[in-house]
């Protein structure tokens, strides 16, 4: 009788200890996820000004649909941004210079001398409030707990390797089977939305000739034509790849993101769409955005004509 108690008791003891030990290993484990979170917090908290170099590329079956290269200098304190954006696509390429100051935004295309000015004081205030809110959220541990719980087991898939100079390379690679069903189900929704939107724009386009001089239209048209990527059948996320480089000072230096979709269009032709984004941050807290003096230049005010559209 005594022997049996000893046996069950020790079974409970040993397995309980093992459970606690592995639980603590998982709890205290320095996964890539924790590394990334620490770096992101550190970067966001101390960030005042930054130079961002971003490359975005959209490819269809390996051929370039559109690409954008941009260099932006931003100061978060006085909300000034300046930079250049180069958009290339099937319709050719365009260079844009843009300046954003607290009182408005200025665009200029390389092909014309006109400066487009958009004043949006009210909207800025709203944005500012929203932003402060977001900054607070970074320090809110409750939200962090929720995000941790949502990510769940995925955090184990994030790997981190440390190089000799102390910089870290953090990456996440997911194949279609590993992508949570909820995320996978969102892929067709996104494409459905895109194709609906392109139909609506078609209707509008036939009504009035599009003014390509207006930078917003230009953005919309040369970035990509939504019809080109309107997949209708068998839409699936095939892979997601995230990669981040964290420098020895624990600041995020580079962030890469690739996503591949597969699917068929209305004609039954299969497509593999690859979208990739490569963002590099440099000159942290030592960047000064350029300003522009509009005196004596050709200026055109742009009205916000989007407002009505959301309601129709």
């Amino acid at each position: 009788m005594k022997k049996k108690w000893l046996l069950t008791g020790s079974a409970v003891g040993i397995s309980g200890a093992l459970m606690l030990a592995t639980g603590f290993t998982a709890f205290a484990g320095t996964s890539g996820y924790e590394d990334y979170k620490a770096a992101l917090k550190n970067t966001v908290q101390n960030l005042q000004s930054v130079t961002v170099q971003a490359d975005a590329v959209l490819k269809d079956n390996g051929s370039l649909l559109s690409g954008a290269q941009s260099t932006l200098k931003a100061n978060l304190k006085n909300e000034a941004v300046s930079g250049t954006v180069k958009i290339s696509g099937k319709a050719g390429s365009q260079n844009l210079n843009l300046y954003s100051q607290p009182d408005g935004q200025v665009w200029k295309s390389d092909t014309s001398d006109t400066y487009y000015v958009k004043q949006d004081k009210a909207e800025k205030d709203e944005q500012k409030q929203g932003k402060e809110h977001k900054d607070e959220a970074w320090f809110n541990s409750q939200e962090e707990t929720v995000i941790d719980a949502l990510i769940g087991n995925l955090k184990n898939e994030i790997t981190s390797t440390t190089a000799n100079d102390g910089s870290k390379n953090i990456s996440l690679q997911l194949d279609s089977a590993q992508i949570p069903a909820v995320v996978q189900a969102l892929a067709p929704v996104a494409f459905k939305h895109l194709s609906d939107q392109s139909q609506r724009e078609d209707l509008q386009d036939s009504g009035a000739k599009v003014q390509l001089n207006n930078p917003e239209n230009l953005f919309k048209h040369s970035l990509f034509n939504a019809k080109d990527i309107a997949l209708t059948e068998g839409v699936q996320i095939q892979s997601i790849h995230l990669n981040a480089v964290v420098n020895p000072a624990n600041e995020i230096q580079r962030q890469q993101f690739d996503i591949t979709f597969t699917g068929k269009d209305a004609q039954g032709v299969s497509h593999t769409l690859t979208a990739s984004l490569d963002v590099q941050l440099s000159a942290l807290n030592t960047t000064t955005p350029d300003t522009i003096d509009l005196n004596g230049k050709k200026v055109q005010q742009v009205q916000d004509h989007h407002e009505g559209r959301h309601h129709d």
Binding site: T8, G9, A11, V12, I14, S15, G16, L18, M19, L20, T22, G23, F24, T25, A26, F27, G29, S141, Q142, E144, T145, V146, D148, A149, G152, N153, L154, N156, E157, T159, S171, L172, Q173, L174, D175, S176, A177, Q178, P180, A181, Q184, A185, P188, V189, F191, K192, T232, E233, G234, V235, Q236, Q238, T262, G263, K264, S270
Partner: protein
């Protein structure tokens, strides 16, 4: 261990005789089909959801979070509290079988039932993909699929051990059923409020199988995960036995 083999056979037969087990299996056959029908009817809102070779793994998430735990609670309620309240446990223990034998027979039969249910769901989902699937949409190797299902089985069996242990405190099947569903929902929600809770809770391991599909997971992580699942199985099984042993029937 003749008692164990006989008891095990007995428990399996009992399970088959219970209408709800058969009913649950029959419904499970239709669940992958119903989900496909649901996605099709939601097409105007959601766009077209694709049934691809990864369908069996994607659906595994739904199975391990809702379907199999519900099945477990039903079966455990029948295996322990129901037998106490209808005094059939006393009859079973009058046979030449030790308490350990009777307890293990029940737990093993539960394992077989979970395995059978998983196998059935996996087979139906695979068939669904063969029939409704869109051709040429990615692939998944059969070995990876097998690994995922085996991992899902382990975590479900471990979850079963936890609830078998809890079932020892109940004398009515209904009470246990309500309580276990509440506890399960509670432990599922707790990680949203308590940091670190998920590291120590076996209910957070229902989606554990997805780790076995990756290429980038380190062996150490898989090993600690496996040790956690197995040790939790052994601990709650042994704890449950201590309570079962001292139970007055």
């Amino acid at each position: 261990m003749d008692g164990l083999t006989a008891g095990f056979k007995n428990e399996l037969q009992l399970m088959i005789y219970r209408k709800k087990t058969i009913f649950f299996f029959a419904i499970s056959v239709f669940i992958p089909l119903l989900l496909i029908a649901l996605f099709h009817s939601l097409q105007p809102v959601l766009g077209l959801f694709t049934v691809s070779p990864t369908y069996p793994v994607q659906m595994l998430e739904i199975y391990t979070i809702f379907l199999i735990p519900l099945f477990l609670f039903l079966e455990i309620a029948d295996l322990f509290p129901q037998e106490v309240s209808s005094r059939t446990l006393k009859l079973a223990l009058l046979r030449p079988i030790t308490r350990l034998g009777a307890y293990m027979a029940k737990f093993l039969a539960l394992g077989v039932a979970i395995g059978a249910l998983l196998l059935l769901l996996g087979t139906v989902s695979t068939l669904c993909n063969l029939i409704f699937g869109t051709s040429g949409t990615g692939s998944i190797d059969a070995f990876g699929l097998l690994k995922a299902y085996v991992a899902a089985f382990l975590s479900m069996w471990s979850l079963a051990a936890l609830f078998v242990c809890m079932a020892q405190f109940f004398r009515s099947a209904g009470g246990f059923l309500v309580f276990s569903i509440l506890i399960y929902a509670g432990t599922k929600a707790a990680p949203y409020f308590l940091q670190g809770f998920s590291s120590f809770s076996i209910t957070s391991y229902t989606g554990w199988y997805s780790l076995w599909l990756g290429h980038s997971i380190s062996v150490a992580k898989l090993a600690t995960g496996s040790v956690f699942v197995l040790s939790s199985l052994v601990m709650f099984l042994a704890l449950g036995y201590i309570f079962f042993e001292r139970k007055e029937v």
